[in-house]
């Protein structure tokens, strides 16, 4: 198998790199570098066994904390514990690097003129400086191993949460539990009769037989308006028996719950009936089949066709006329047959 062979080769290469990093012996420094005149004013080689061990201990602790993040993410995804481990790991890593910078590598003060970018002399000087910075550092392998462990654990802590991006959306993406003959019930599961929906009242409805009320598209709002006032899009008259209308509670703008119903006691001196989303005040006119009256939503509030059974209980006559759920950016669509 060519693919298997390629993977095996890649793994071998990775192991080789890791071994080379971890077990590289310190070479003689600056063997091929030309000696240049160093502008150093003051130089102090600080490296000591104590400081190195401190840094190693902190790197190991950081590695443990960061690995702990990965383990907790898989075993016990508690956000407090996750925050604690990754926070602790990053703080330890930062302190370890700061201590290493202050107490393990040589400290020096220098002055030099500005050079053009890419200046040969400057590059040589920097290479020189990098080589020299290893001076006096003991237990190089141990230090590199601890650093490598912390880096590996940190890398895993960054990559593992990608699993939280979630499962693939179901297909078709926006199917709802509603369909022909599905009874409309209240939060307690009691059927709602046509006579309980008075003009001016707002009733929350759910599909019968669906345990989980948070199922996508389940929740609806039922209102009643005088049949004479309705200006529904063509073909929807049958879905509003006696002027009873049902709408999805998911705002087609950003998906907030439509929870405001405006119904005037005395129409001439008050604003007309409307379903309103409390997040961005998208306002929908129930008389016109949920057409947008005001606000940022790009399409009408999806209406659910209703019918009455022989006991005058409400049931769905089909699925929603439009797609339920929030819209992607820039989606704009008017009610079919609506001129405005």
């Amino acid at each position: 198998m060519r693919l298997g062979a390629a993977i095996a080769k890649g793994v071998k290469l990775l192991v080789g790199i890791v071994v080379a990093i971890l077990w590289r012996r310190p070479r003689e420094r600056a063997e091929r570098l030309p000696e240049i005149e160093s502008p150093t004013l003051e130089r102090e080689v600080t490296g000591g066994a104590g400081a190195t061990l401190t840094v190693v201990a902190m790197l190991v602790a950081a590695a443990l904390a960061l690995a702990g993040f990965t383990v907790l993410y898989i075993v016990l995804p508690d956000t407090q514990a996750l925050g604690l481990t990754i926070g602790l790991g990053l703080v330890l890593l930062g302190v370890a690097l700061a201590v290493a910078g202050k107490a393990v590598v040589p400290q020096e003060q220098a002055e030099s003129d500005y050079h053009d970018f890419g200046d040969e002399l400057e590059r040589t000087a920097i290479e020189h400086e990098v080589r020299e910075s290893g001076e006096g550092v003991t237990r190089r392998g141990l230090l590199l191993a601890a650093g490598g462990a912390a880096a590996a654990a940190g890398g895993a802590a960054v990559i593992v949460p990608l699993a939280s991006l979630g499962p693939n959306p179901p297909s078709p993406p926006f199917s709802t539990p509603w369909g022909p003959g599905r009874k409309v019930v209240d939060a307690e599961g009691t059927a709602i009769t046509a006579d309980e929906i008075e003009e001016g009242s707002m009733v929350l409805g759910f599909p019968d037989g669906v345990e989980d009320k948070s199922v996508f598209g389940a929740s609806i709002l039922v209102v009643r308006l005088p049949v004479a006032e309705l200006e529904l899009p063509p073909g929807r008259e049958a879905g509003a028996p006696e002027g009873i209308l049902a709408f999805s509670r998911i705002c087609p703008h950003a998906g907030c719950a439509i929870s405001m119903y405006r119904h005037p006691v005395f129409a001439p001196t008050a604003p007309g009936p409307a379903l309103v989303c409390p997040c961005h005040y998208s306002t929908f006119d129930p008389r016109r089949g949920g057409a947008l009256e005001f606000g940022p939503a790009g399409r009408p509030l999806p209406q659910l066709p209703l019918r009455l059974d022989e006991r005058r209980e409400l049931e769905a006559a089909g699925d929603f006329y439009e797609m339920v759920g929030p819209s992607y950016g820039g989606v704009r669509q008017d009610v079919p047959g609506d001129a405005s």
Binding site: E196, G200, S201, P264, P271, P278, T283
Partner: protein
């Protein structure tokens, strides 16, 4: 202390005590008499209804018409709205309204308790539901009330009950609302508020108990910063975080003395 002075103090304290009792009784009287006590509507020819009719003709007939049948385009017919509506609108000062196109909002009523009772009796005599009995929130379930409030009321009034806005209208702050106000509003649906007649009396009592709870909610502790929302919290965060950053910069940074 002389004898005369002592007698003066005794008399004064007795008088003060009597005054306190009288005022307590006087204050208690309308509060118990106004809501619910007169569940039976007084007959149309009773004195209180006639007094209410006179007050109505003086104060309300401009918009609602002399016979309370309303004026097209100005104000609605009051036949059949019931004493419950009149009690809600008048007791909370939502009526009378300066301009019929204004939104009725809670205000100080120009009428005293007796005048309101008379007007309520008159509107009640035109038919419709009576004032509901006093709401007992003693045995109500505040947690269930919060659930029902969140489901039905919080969209407009906010979960903390402090009101909000909607296009074309204001959802009022409920911090001055009594349990009876809540029960009446749920049934009447004043101005553009919908009615919630599927709620049972127990549901309404629970909701009223929750609304009462929001007037003085239990303090969860912590640093409230006046409980006025995210803006002071953001300010404090910036000030504290800014100070912490300055300290960190001062500690990390080095001064070159050259």
């Amino acid at each position: 202390m002389s004898r005369g002075r002592r007698r003066f103090w005794i008399v004064a304290s007795v008088l003060l005590g009597l005054a306190a009792i009288v005022s307590a009784v006087a204050a208690d009287h309308p509060a118990t008499a106004a809501p619910g006590a007169s569940a039976e509507a007084p007959p149309a020819d009773s004195v209180i209804v006639q007094q209410g009719r006179r007050l109505f003709e003086q104060g309300c007939s401009d918009c609602h018409g002399f016979d309370a049948k309303g004026i097209a385009g100005v104000a609605p017919d009051l036949h059949g709205v019931g004493a419950i509506s009149a009690d809600f609108y008048l007791r909370t000062g939502r009526m009378p309204l300066d301009d019929p196109h204004d939104e009725p909002l809670r205000s100080d009523s120009p009428y005293d308790q007796g005048e309101i009772a008379a007007l309520v009796a008159y509107v009640g005599s035109l038919g419709g539901p009576g004032v509901p009995p006093a709401i007992d929130t003693a045995g109500a379930d505040v947690a269930r009330g919060q659930e029902l409030f969140t489901e039905n009321c919080a969209g407009c009034h906010q979960v903390v009950g402090q009101g909000g806005i909607m296009p074309g209208a204001v959802a009022p702050d409920l911090r001055a609302s009594t349990p009876l106000d809540v029960a009446e509003a749920v049934d009447v649906g004043p101005y553009v508020m919908p009615t919630f007649k599927r709620l049972t009396d127990d549901d309404v009592a629970d909701i009223a108990a929750y609304v009462t709870y929001t007037h003085d909610p239990e303090d969860r502790g912590g640093w409230g910063i006046g409980h006025i929302g995210p803006i002071p919290e953001g300010m404090v965060a910036w000030l504290l975080a800014g100070a912490a950053l300055l300290i960190a910069i001062r500690l990390i940074g080095e001064r070159t003395t050259r």
